[in-house]
């Protein structure tokens, strides 16, 4: 090992700075899952009957399903009876303003750098935040400004009560309850999430953001997000997540559904930084997420951008069903696996409408003993005249114990379709490194620069503040993996 390598290796021992635990009174259900648990969750949330029925139906379907094993991931089976399905900070009354929120909760978000204090946020960039702590939404900011524009942005549990007809119309239409094992589980036990509705012709006045935090022990987080963009509307939605450092694995099984009507555009960005486990692969979040959007009307557009640096295991395929003619689907992804992290992520683009277009840009970075897989499906159905897809999947390898894998599927049934897929795998070129070092850059800086260059196509799709955060996150997650 050269001296530079040693210097760099020492850097890897950087701590996961979001790994603290907030000591707060919580109302947590005992571990285990059965119909009664579901009834209790539903009762606690004071949900209408239709939702309870829907949950129970999902649960019964889930009982008949098996956990998927096709992904390129290795982990011990998860005992779902050992998880608590509901945990909420104890709070007696409904909150009217930020002042009523438990200061320890505010502190938590302060530490995480999440702007839930509207006064402070006003000074900087305007982002409306829905902060979710374990199973409940703690606070949603800028509600007033949003409601003036007609935008609904609130926790799903509130939406169920306030806008039951909207929720029941769209919930489960994109990801049906029986879609897969984890989505069925989520449908049965989901506790929180955000609901967004953008009315016709409205351009959402600010970025919307949800911040997820797992705090309690032995809990799983099962949030469910539903975003509906009515005709010719536009919304940009950001999602971030962290969890404390723990030795056990915690499960996060979320479902996100997007509906874009005629001419609407939804831009969904994720910076996923769940606790990845330590360098020996102990602990960390199991991130099993189902995300899917439907471009329902003509010219609708859905764009997924994700930066995945956390989680012990990532199993996630944000997809777009391109139903409308001239609709557009995009997927931009940076996935990083360091230490013992494993990721099996990618997308599905299903072309149904004429002239539908999709773009897939996936950048995988493997370091340490990380295993990174891209898995994607591009499907062109018979009626999708002139469908067009371009996919590019590049992998960067750092270290001789990591792995990078690509599993693209292409199924084309229309002769006017054009589908292209390109993938490359390589490590950082010696010549590139030499060039930078020759010009006086340290090896660390050079690698960071090259990696950022490698990811640029994806970062440029992120909203400004997120892009900065993503770049920082990437360089931190990578520290010490050069050599």
């Amino acid at each position: 090992m050269t001296s530079t390598e040693k210097d760099l290796t020492s850097l890897v021992q950087r701590e996961y700075k979001e790994g603290f635990v907030t000591d707060i009174d919580a109302d947590t259900l005992p571990a285990g899952l059965n119909e009664d648990v579901i009834r209790v969750i539903s009762a606690k949330k004071e949900e209408p009957d239709f939702l309870l029925e829907w949950r129970l139906e999902s649960y019964r379907r889930w009982l008949e399903m098996d956990a998927p094993e096709w992904a390129h991931l290795h982990y011990a089976p998860i005992d779902l009876q050992e998880i608590s399905y509901y945990s909420a900070p104890k709070q007696k009354v409904l909150l009217d303003s930020l002042d009523d929120v438990d200061p320890r909760l505010l502190e938590t978000y302060e530490k995480l750098g999440i702007p839930i204090d509207e006064q402070k946020a006003l000074a900087g960039v305007k982002v409306a935040v829905d902060a979710v702590f374990d199973s409940v939404s703690v606070v949603t900011t800028f509600k007033k400004t949003l409601s003036e524009a007609g935008v609904i942005f609130c926790p799903l549990s509130e939406a169920v009560k306030d806008y039951p007809e909207l929720v029941s119309k769209y919930l489960g239409t994109v990801v049906p309850t029986s879609d897969n094992y984890y989505s069925a589980l989520n449908s049965a036990v989901f506790s929180e999430g955000s609901f967004v509705y953008i009315p016709k012709g409205v351009r959402c006045p600010m970025e919307l953001s949800t911040y997820f935090r797992i705090n309690a022990m032995n809990t799983g987080q099962f949030e469910r997000t539903l975003i509906v963009a009515d005709e010719d509307s536009y919304v940009s939605y950001l999602e971030g997540c962290t969890a404390p450092m723990r030795d056990e694995n915690q499960l996060h099984a979320a479902v996100v559904e997007l509906v874009a009507m005629k001419g609407a555009e939804i831009k969904y960005s994720t910076v996923q930084n769940w606790y990845p486990g330590d360098e020996n692969g102990v602990g960390g979040i199991y991130n099993f997420v189902t995300k899917r959007g439907v471009c329902k009307g003509e010219g609708a557009k859905i764009s997924w951008t994700q930066v995945e640096t956390g989680s012990a295991i990532t199993w996630k395929y944000p997809s777009v069903v391109l139903e409308g003619d001239n609709s557009i689907g995009e997927f931009y992804s940076v996935a990083l696996t360091n230490n013992c992290q494993q990721a099996d992520t990618g997308t599905k683009m299903v072309h149904i409408g004429k002239n539908s277009k999709s773009t897939i840009i996936s950048k995988g970075i493997s370091a340490g003993r990380g295993q990174n897989s891209y898995r994607g499906l591009v499907k062109v159905l018979k009626g999708a005249e002139n469908a067009r897809n371009y996919s590019q999947c590049d992998s960067l390898l750092m270290g001789d114990k990591c792995g990078a894998h690509t599993f693209p599927y292409m199924e084309v049934k229309n002769p006017t379709a054009m589908v292209e897929h390109e993938a490359t795998t390589s490590r950082i070129g010696e010549d590139q490194l030499f060039y930078c070092r020759q010009r006086g850059m340290s090896e660390e800086d050079a690698v960071s620069m090259i990696v950022n260059g490698f990811c640029k196509e994806v970062f440029k799709e992120l909203p400004m503040e997120f892009a900065v955060e993503a770049q920082k996150l990437l360089s931190i997650s990578l520290e010490g993996s050069v050599g």
Partner: protein
């Protein structure tokens, strides 16, 4: 499905006594083990990831039967069929198989000189089975499926070709497989061993002597020792009622070169599995494939390249033209193992989708466990370039000719890799007559 497995099991039991080498204990055990694996696995279904785009139901719906010995009274017919199906001006050594049985009377087994031994695997198993035991010991468990187990359980015949060190075969060696229909199950198992520094060109060519359903379930194992070179061809021009599952399993030692061209123009349901494992440093392999399909043809090309040692290179290019209701499947897998540093692997699959009812499913796949590598794959699916078409038409070439020209240009990247002129010309003429007839029936 249960009774089709039973059908073949019964066939095995009724044949077992007469299978070559049956008296030898290890061969018997080997066969029995393979049969029980076959019974366990059954035939693959679309639920198996490796078979998700190919249903073998047309095969399992029929009951194919292994044929008995070939009687001398058929020799005249066989002889005329061999002449009819030989490639014009193709100067080669020839081995003839009829429904999977090596016809020693029609084959040149001794004309090749001392450096090359060619025997029927049945004879070898009867006379000196120990000489090929090591090759039977290679397990391949991970790669096997119902078809390969079936082949290994009761293939009756095949060729064992052994090239001594340093031997260079001047003329290509052609293995001509004739199928006579009649729901015959043709299963041959071939073994090709190239010792250090040897060199040869080997062609597997499949034709239908008569129409009628047939199932060919072949397995060829090719072992390349250091610095040996094998040029391999798999040419399929059977009739539209031939089913085929073909395996070519290759292991390469250091500095060896293996080059394979798979040309599929015939058959109704064809699955080709080419698995190459490079286990020695500095080995190289090329794989070229061409499939031009129409009617209801279904062709599934499944390739695997394992880079198991440092400094190996591989290059793969498959091109397909799909007409009418045909369906093409391509699955290319490149696996780079942890110590296989300095790997250079390329893979590409291009498909021309020419009909509204045709379908292509392609799945290129990279699995990389080493870091100092250069790997890439690409896949494109599209149609004829309208601008090129317009260019040609503006110069007075009619549309039909222009389309033919462009299709030929598209597949030429693979065709030009056919290094034997007479074979190439024959393939070109089959291809062009197919393209013309496809257009007439559109």
């Amino acid at each position: 499905m249960i009774d089709i497995t039973e059908h073949y099991t019964q066939q095995y039991h009724s044949l077992a006594e007469n299978l070559p080498g049956n008296g030898v204990e290890w061969i018997k055990t080997y066969r029995n083990n393979r049969l029980s694996r076959f019974q366990e696995a059954g035939f693959p279904t679309t639920r198996d990831e490796d078979w998700r785009y190919t249903t073998v139901r047309p095969i399992t719906n029929k009951k194919f039967t292994s044929i008995g010995d070939i009687q001398v009274d058929r020799y005249a017919l066989i002889s005329s069929k061999v002449a009819e199906h030989s490639v014009m001006d193709f100067d080669s050594y020839q081995l003839v198989f009829v429904d999977g049985v090596l016809m020693t009377d029609f084959s040149e087994l001794t004309a090749l000189g001392d450096g090359v031994q060619i025997n029927s695997i049945a004879d070898v198993l009867r006379q000196r089975p120990e000489s090929i035991q090591t090759y039977f010991d290679i397990d391949h468990a991970e790669e096997s499926n119902g078809f390969t187990e079936l082949n290994r359980a009761f293939s009756k015949d095949g060729a064992v070709i052994e090239l001594q060190a340093g031997v260079c075969l001047e003329k290509p060696l052609e293995l001509l497989f004739l199928s006579f229909g009649d729901e015959a199950l043709a299963q041959s198992r071939n073994l090709i061993v190239a010792h250090e520094g040897s060199k040869a060109t080997i062609i597997e060519r499949y034709v239908s002597a008569e129409t009628g359903y047939s199932l060919t379930n072949n397995l060829s194992e090719v072992v390349l020792d250091k610095k040996s070179e094998i040029d391999y061809y798999l040419v399929q021009t059977q009739s539209r009622d031939a089913y085929q599952v073909s395996g070519i399993w290759v292991t390469q030692a250091s500095d060896s070169r293996f080059s394979c061209r798979t040309i599929t123009l015939g058959g109704i349901l064809v699955r080709n599995e080419i698995k190459i494992r490079m286990l020695g440093e500095g080995a190289h392999c090329d794989m070229f494939g061409l499939y031009s399909l129409s009617g209801k043809q279904h062709v599934d090309n499944h390739t695997t390249v394992v880079h198991g040692a440092p400094n190996c290179t591989s290059n793969e290019l498959y091109k397909g033209v799909l007409n009418q209701r045909s369906r093409g499947v391509f699955h290319g897998r490149i696996k780079v193992e942890q110590d296989a540093q300095k790997t250079d692997a390329k893979q590409s699959n291009n498909t021309l989708l020419l009909s509204r009812d045709a379908e292509i499913d392609t799945k290129p796949q990279l699995e990389i466990y080493a870091d100092d590598v250069k790997c890439s794959h690409g896949a494109t699916i599209g149609q004829m370039d309208e601008v090129s078409l317009f260019y040609l038409r503006s110069r007075g070439i009619d549309e039909s000719d222009a389309r033919s020209l462009l299709t030929f240009a598209f597949v030429n990247d693979v065709l030009r890799e056919v290094g034997i002129d007479s074979l190439k010309e024959s393939l070109e003429s089959i291809l062009s007559s197919q393209l013309i007839s496809d257009r007439q029936t559109v």
